[in-house]
Amino acid sequence: MNSAWFEAMEADARNRPEVYRVLGFADLRLVVEETDGDAVRCFGLVLDGYDVEFAGELDDVDAFRPDATVTGPREAWDEMAANIVANGGADGTHTLNAMSIAELPLRVWSADPVGRDKFFRYAETLQVLFDSLAGAAITA
């Protein structure tokens, strides 16, 4: 995972406003976390209205005040990205929900369950954003 993923998502929301407008507005501050051994990288995604207001790497997760965090090992994120690129969008077992429902390999969590449930409230918007990686031909 790298900043290019998130730049691609932000660009997709900006370049295809008609798609995101139909999906409806959202209000979410999501941390996307990648673990690699002891190393942890965190990226932030802020959905506000129909826009992606911020998408990029975070230095201070607490200051970001996330509603929820989706976390998983680097291999899982790489596999998801490769699958999205190969299929033009995530296949049945590589959507955000499919990879997180059993809490393996991804896990969605928050100290506030209403914050965590936002991950489900905006599931379609998030999936369209992640699927846009296919158009950007981005992998790991």
Binding site: G24, F25, N97, I101, F120
Partner: protein
């Protein structure tokens, strides 16, 4: 000829253009309020300004007059029975209403029905059975708010509006699962009395408090997890989209239920035991659902892909799903201020892996 009450003298004056404009500027409501639209348009939160944004805890009238308007003194009493704000309110209500309106979708237009692939007959049977269950349970979440809507004081109009969106959402869920059952050569499956009994518990609730706890927190929490599982198990992108769109709606209803219960208990902590009693009676549904073949086996079959593989998987998929249902439900109860860990009355076999407050049950 029927005699009606009409001011004929006014009619004659008005016909001559003799209007008395005195009332127009003599209205006893707040003037000079100008709501400013935000980035997505003019929202309910944007117009919650000045006195119009003040929602009384105990309205003095029981009329349909718009809150903040100058109301005639002799308006009839509409007979509302829910006249305490905390009975229906939540802090996220205005935003959830706007979100619901913004994120509406059409089961006719937005699902690519023409792309449904032909499935192995066993998988088609399983999908149709799951759709039968979901089409059945979803309508109670329209019926329940509809039953209580007219009893809610009009000063809590934002709550009524949100419940209207829920009724529409659930009608669409009933529609989309009925359509899926009929769209691929399958048809409807079995309707089980065990499920009907839980729906009746919600519909027969003696108070909005009781019904909301059973439906918004417990029932819809379970269904949200079922939708999440459905998205994973969906045999084609068509069902995957159905489940994802339904998941969004259901999560919104659960968000209302959780924050409503929290609002209620913060203002009247003495009600906690009442809510515990409602959920004591309702939680049995978790045990019943996960021991009902017509629920467990379609999920297992879809997860495994064939009957033979399902027999090897056994309860692996259903156990995972039940664990998620229970844990997420308990977290929502905790957040609402109604800790249920240790109070959940389910057979020990169904609580394995659940944190009962003293650690995970072995």
């Amino acid at each position: 000829m029927t005699t009606v009450s009409a001011d004929l003298e006014y009619l004659r004056r008005a016909e001559a253009g003799k209007f008395d404009w005195g009332w127009l500027r003599d209205t006893k409501s707040e003037w000079g309020v100008k709501a400013q639209p935000g980035k997505v348009g003019l929202t309910m939160r944007d117009i919650a300004v000045g006195s119009y944004g003040e929602v009384p805890d105990h309205p003095s009238l029981r009329t349909m007059a718009p809150r903040g308007s100058d109301v005639d003194p002799d308006v009839p009493d509409m007979g509302y029975t829910i006249n305490t704000k905390a009975e229906v309110w939540s802090d996220n209500l205005l935003d959830l209403y706007e979100e619901a309106v913004s994120r509406q979708w059409s089961a006719t237009r937005d699902i690519p029905w023409g792309e449904l692939p032909e499935l192995d007959p066993d998988l088609e049977h399983a999908m149709c059975q799951l759709c039968t269950v979901l089409s059945e349970v979803e309508m109670v979440a329209s019926d329940f708010p509809a039953k209580w809507l007219w009893r809610i004081n009009h000063d809590f109009v934002e709550a009524k509006m949100f419940l209207c969106t829920q009724a529409m959402d659930e009608a669409r869920h009933t529609e989309v699962f009925r359509k899926r059952a009929l769209a691929n050569g399958g048809g409807l499956g079995k309707s089980k009395s065990v499920i009907e009994r839980f729906l009746k518990l919600i519909l027969d609730a003696q108070s909005y408090d009781e019904g909301s706890a059973l439906m918004h927190i417990l029932g819809e929490g379970i269904v949200l997890s079922l939708f999440r599982a459905g998205e994973l198990l969906a045999p084609s992108p068509v069902e995957k989209r159905i489940f994802r769109l339904c998941m969004q709606d259901e999560a919104r209803h659960v968000a209302y239920g959780t924050m409503h219960l929290r609002y209620r208990l913060e203002r009247d902590p003495s009600m906690a035991e009442d809510f515990h009693a409602y959920l004591d009676a309702g939680e049995e549904i978790i045990g019943m659902l996960f021991t009902t073949p017509e629920v467990v086996e379609p999920v297992t079959l879809l997860a495994a892909g064939s009957m033979k593989a399902a027999e090897e998987l056994a309860l692996g998929g259903a156990d995972m799903l039940r664990g998620r249902v229970i844990e997420e439900y308990l977290q929502r109860c905790d957040h609402a201020g109604l800790p249920r860990r240790g109070r959940l009355k389910l057979p020990a076999e169904l609580l394995v892996g659940v944190d009962d407050g003293e650690g995970k049950v072995a």
